[in-house]
Structure formats: structure tokens, C-alpha cells
């Protein structure tokens, strides 16, 4: 299968105070279409930085980032935003829903950037909410939903525009075990039944069990990988 994510010799540095800190040291990574990849590692290992580079939220200081066939490290800020709208769905640890909007309006937000009609947008939103099992909570605001339900809304928002890849940053980090397993099951279903490529950052080994491949980062380097058998 073709690589949908390809990172070559990626270096990322941050300026902290007067110091330049290198957080990724020449990372090479490939992820195939339809894969469910878990990025693991201790705090400060560079997991989220790597995820941000894959999701086009940040640019590397050195190296190449090719995602969905596009050399995204060369795109301008505006081009990158449009690219994200077309190709990436995001799921965050703290859901990051807009508190003033209802669940269905939150899910609709990425579709506002498309040329879809209002009716078509509503139809797609309904389908996404049905997929995550929240049709009956469509009119509720985030404050009226549980953590697990909010994360389901966030997943519906991530998939509503039919992105090429879904990136998740600690999607179960704020949830109890039961809700966490529900969310991971949902992501696994999207991966296995809908064929969505998922890259997930987690420090929870039990969450990583749901992924088809696990990559371990330490001090800005990929140190180890494990692949789950197809069984």
C-alpha cells in the first residue's frame, strides 16, 4: 500500500527563552493509507510536535513532510489551512468544541469552508452524528453533554468533511476507562470499516492496543515500533 504520510529527516526546534531546543532530531516515518498508527512515548518526547507536523499545524525546520501526496512543509500558511480543511480531521484531548454552538453546529463548522449547500451540510452533519451515535443529542450544547459525548461530537466534526487522515492527540486522556474504550472502539471502527487513516498520540498502553502499529518516541527520536498482528 502507498504511504499516505511520509516524513524524511524531520528536525523541529523551539525557542524557549534565549535557548533553541531541538525537539525532533531527524525523524523518518511512513504511514500507509488505512493504517491506525499510535505514537507513544514519555512527556516531552516530541509526540505532539510530530502529530502537529503530520496534521499541518506546524512546519519543520528541516526535512520533508509529505501527506496525502502534498509536500506540506512548503505550503504557505493560507495554503496549509486550505489543505487541512480538505485532508485532515482533528480530535483533541479536551474536545475543543465551540461552547456557544450546539453539537450539530459544531460538527458543521468544517463544512462552512466547503461549497456545499445548507441542506447538504445538514445532511452530512446528521450522517456524522448518526455514525458516532449522537443523533438524539444534536441540539445540545457542549456543556449539556458528558465528556464521552463531547469527544464523540469532536470525532463527528473530524470526519464530517471526509478527510484523508484523522489525527488524534490523547483522545482519551480526559475520559474514564469506560468512555475511553468507547471512543477507541469508535476510532477503530472508523479505521476498519470506513478505511480512515488514523494517527493517534497517546501515552496510555491500553489505548495504543487499539492501533495496528505503535511507534515509540524518546527524546525526539523514533526508538522502537510494534505491529499488531491482523488477528
Amino acid at each position: 500500500m502507498a504511504a499516505i504520510v511520509s516524513l524524511k529527516n524531520v528536525v523541529k526546534r523551539y525557542v524557549r527563552g534565549k535557548q533553541r531546543v531541538e525537539v525532533l532530531h531527524g525523524v523518518d516515518l511512513e504511514c500507509e493509507a488505512g493504517e491506525f498508527l499510535a505514537l507513544m512515548g514519555p512527556s516531552g518526547s516530541g509526540k505532539t510536535t510530530l502529530l502537529n507536523l503530520i496534521g499541518g499545524l506546524d512546519r519543520p525546520d528541516e526535512g520533508e513532510v509529505i501527506v496525502a501526496g502534498e509536500r506540506i512543509d512548503r505550503l504557505s500558511s493560507g495554503q496549509l489551512a486550505k489543505w487541512r480543511a480538505r485532508h485532515v480531521g482533528f480530535v483533541f484531548q479536551f474536545y475543543n468544541l465551540l461552547p456557544v454552538l450546539t453539537a450539530e453546529r459544531n460538527v458543521e463548522v468544517p463544512l462552512l469552508l466547503t461549497k456545499l449547500s445548507r441542506a447538504q451540510r445538514r445532511k452530512n452533519v446528521a450522517a456524522a452524528l448518526e455514525l458516532v451515535g449522537l443523533t438524539d443529542r444534536a441540539k445540545h450544547k457542549p456543556t449539556e453533554l458528558s465528556g464521552g459525548q463531547q469527544q464523540r461530537v469532536a470525532i463527528a466534526r473530524a470526519i464530517v468533511a471526509d478527510p484523508t487522515i484523522i489525527v488524534c492527540d490523547e483522545p482519551t486522556g480526559d475520559l474514564d476507562r469506560e468512555n475511553a474504550e468507547d471512543i477507541l472502539g469508535l476510532l477503530q471502527m472508523l479505521n476498519q470499516r470506513q478505511g480512515k487513516t488514523i494517527v493517534m498520540v497517546t501515552h496510555d498502553p491500553r489505548a495504543a492496543e487499539f492501533a495496528s502499529r505503535r511507534l515509540y518516541l524518546d527524546k525526539g527520536r523514533l526508538v522502537h515500533q510494534e505491529t499488531r498482528s491482523a488477528a
Binding site: 500558511s77 486550505k82 482533528f90 461552547p99 456557544v100 463548522v109 445548507r118
Partner: protein
């Protein structure tokens, strides 16, 4: 349009703060509408005065008696087509607060010189034939329920030879001011009726109004009239109708300066208040703006959404404020004769609202534009 619900929800994210900003804008634009509207309406009223009419009054003060004998001399000045004389005074009808302004005059020349004051030929003839007759303004007639054939008595400041100050009038007609219908007030009476009865200042008038052929020569004709009575006991001052109106406005003060200074100060304060509240709002919403950028909203689109929020709020506030200003202005109509807020002030108000929104929203919008998604999401 599809972003409108997002903008609208953004405005009302914190209801209390949104109402506070809106109230500030409403108050500032009410002030703007009232003061600039008043100023503009007064300017418009001055500009619409009759340039072909000159007013001849006493040099030392308006209201100083001028001899009736000046009439023929003024009429003889080259360029003067017609002249009317007038003794004008206020009276009280039945009880305090019920005022009636009486213009005691020569009825024929009055209706020739003041062409915007209209009545029937029969009314004019009736007034000439009835010494105690009066043609009453429509607004006054409606206010007191008067009609032709009625009789009314007023208390005046003019002492009569019999010691009283009462004058009784028989209503013989109704007049209408066609230029400004709301100014169809007071009553027109025979000069002779008042003059013969009064104890003092007989054969004097309060002012002459000269109708001239060429408004461009008003200064020249005015000078010629004043020259006639130079060094006499009753020197005159001749002014155009707009000069009279302007001098009356000047009594209040420099309305232009007052209006600009107050609204300028209000807008200046509003700029900082709105800007600070918007900054606070944007700071609080940094993660939300980061989410919008994450899902694909470009930097410019986020900046536009922030500006649109301020703009929408400013336009709503301005619309309410200008409406309130116009409403308050209409309440002063009876007092100063302002007809309403000129359209130019409404347009200027909305232009100010747009500029104010752009100025106060510029820094928050710039912050939104520069927001780095990865940093904002990580709380850095």
C-alpha cells in the same frame, strides 16, 4: 452569509459583556444623532431660508421699536420689491403654558412677502373687513380646538389705554405654512387694531421685511436701507433671513463646536472601551480561534470574522442610537422647529460606526490573524 450564525454566536458568547458594549455604542450614537442631527438640521434650516427676504430691525436690539414712517423710505430703496411691517408679541390663552404668538401686520403685504404662508382670498378679505379679526395657524387652531367664527381672548404684555392687557380676536380664517407645516402656528391680526388700542409705542413696529428682486444684491440693499436711518434716533440693522437664524443659533453657543466636541469625546472613549472589551473577548477565545484555524479557517478568514463581529455590533448599536437620537430630536421639534434628522447625518453615523469598528477591532483582529495554532492549542 453562512458564517453569520458563527459571528452572531460569537457576539453573544458573554451576554453581559455584549450588552455592555452595545449600550456604550448606543449611548455614543444617540449623542451623535442628537447633537449632529440638531446641528445638521439647523444648518439645513438656515440653508433653506428665503434669500430674497431682508429683515430690518433696531440696531441696538431686535424688538426695539422702529417708526412706522420708515415704511415708505424702505419701499423706495432700489431693488426692494415689497415691504411688510410687523409687531409680534406673545399672549397667554386661558392659562399659563397656553401661548399664542400674534403677528399684528398689514395683511395684504404679509401674504405677498411670506409666500409660504397660505390662506384663502376670502380669509384675507374677511381679516381686512374685521378690525379684531385673526387668521389662525392650523396647528394652533387644532391645539385649542378653534374654528372660523370662534372668538378668543389673550393676556398680552402690551398695555392698553384702558389699563388692561387683554386683546380679543375673531377668527376669520386658518393659514398653513406650506414649507414647514409644523410651523403653522400663532395668529395673524390687523396692526391697526393693536396699534390704536395700545398705550405705548404707537405707530411703531418691531420689524420690517423687505422682499428684494435679486438675492445676490442683499448686502448692497441692506447697506442702502441702514444708510437711510444712520445717525437717526432709531438706527436699523438689516440682515438676511439666514443671518437672523444664525444669530439666534449663536445665542446658544457655537453649536458646530459643541456637537463635534461632545461626539468626538464620546467616540474617543468608546474606541478604547470597545477595543479593550474586544481584546478581552479574543484573549478568552484563543483556544476557540485556534480550533477554527485547525479545521481549515485561514488566518484572513479568522481576522475577518473578528472584524465582522465588531462591525455587526457597531452597526446594530449605531442603528439603535441613531433611531433614539432621531426620536429625541423629533421631541424638540415644537421647541426649535427642527424637522428631523437629515439623511446626511444618518449616513455619517453609519460611516462612523464602520470606522469605529475597524479601529477598535483592528488589534484584536490582528491578534487573531497572527495566532499560531500549535502554540495556542498547547496553551503557550
Amino acid at each position: 452569509m453562512k458564517f453569520l450564525p458563527l459571528i452572531w454566536k460569537g457576539i453573544w458568547r458573554k451576554r453581559g459583556r455584549a450588552i455592555l458594549i452595545l449600550l456604550q455604542i448606543v449611548v455614543a450614537f444617540t449623542l451623535f444623532g442628537l447633537l449632529q442631527g440638531l446641528n445638521g438640521a439647523v444648518k439645513q434650516a438656515i440653508a433653506s431660508t428665503h434669500a430674497d427676504r431682508l429683515y430690518v430691525v433696531g440696531r441696538s436690539a431686535m424688538g426695539e421699536p422702529l417708526p412706522l414712517a420708515y415704511l415708505e423710505q424702505i419701499r423706495g430703496v432700489p431693488g426692494v420689491r415689497d415691504v411688510n411691517y410687523r409687531l409680534q408679541f406673545g399672549g397667554q390663552y386661558q392659562r399659563p403654558g397656553q401661548g399664542v404668538v400674534i403677528a399684528a401686520t398689514d395683511v395684504e403685504s404679509f401674504f405677498r412677502v411670506f409666500s409660504e404662508v397660505s390662506t384663502s382670498r376670502e380669509s384675507i378679505d374677511a381679516l381686512r373687513a374685521t378690525p379684531s379679526g385673526a387668521i389662525v395657524g392650523r396647528v394652533t387652531a387644532e391645539e385649542y380646538g378653534w374654528k372660523v367664527g370662534d372668538r378668543f381672548t389673550i393676556q398680552t404684555p402690551i398695555p392698553r389705554t384702558d389699563g388692561s392687557r387683554e386683546f380679543t380676536f375673531d377668527i376669520v380664517g386658518i393659514f398653513e405654512n406650506t414649507d414647514r407645516p409644523e410651523q403653522s402656528i400663532g395668529a395673524i391680526a390687523n396692526y391697526a387694531y393693536i396699534n390704536e388700542a395700545r398705550a405705548r409705542n404707537r405707530n411703531t413696529v418691531m420689524l420690517y421685511t423687505a422682499l428684494i428682486d435679486d438675492p445676490a444684491k442683499s448686502a448692497e440693499i441692506g447697506f442702502a436701507i441702514d444708510s437711510l436711518f444712520e445717525n437717526s434716533t432709531n438706527e436699523t440693522r438689516t440682515q438676511t433671513e439666514s443671518q437672523i437664524a444664525q444669530s439666534q443659533i449663536d445665542r446658544i453657543g457655537n453649536l458646530d463646536y459643541i456637537a463635534h466636541a461632545i461626539t468626538g469625546a464620546a467616540f474617543f472613549a468608546l474606541l478604547f472601551a470597545t477595543g479593550a472589551l474586544m481584546m478581552q473577548s479574543i484573549r478568552e477565545r484563543t483556544p476557540e480561534l485556534a480550533v477554527l484555524k485547525t479545521v481549515g479557517f485561514t488566518d484572513r478568514l479568522v481576522m475577518t470574522l473578528i472584524l465582522a463581529e465588531v462591525l455587526l455590533l457597531a452597526l446594530i448599536g449605531a442603528a439603535i442610537g441613531l433611531w433614539l437620537g432621531d426620536f429625541m430630536l423629533s421631541m424638540t421639534r415644537q421647541m426649535i422647529g427642527v424637522t428631523g434628522m437629515p439623511a446626511s447625518i444618518v449616513v455619517a453615523g453609519f460611516v462612523c460606526a464602520v470606522l469605529l469598528a475597524l479601529a477598535s477591532g483592528a488589534i484584536p483582529a490582528w491578534r487573531g490573524l497572527r495566532l499560531q495554532v500549535a502554540q495556542a492549542l498547547s496553551g503557550r
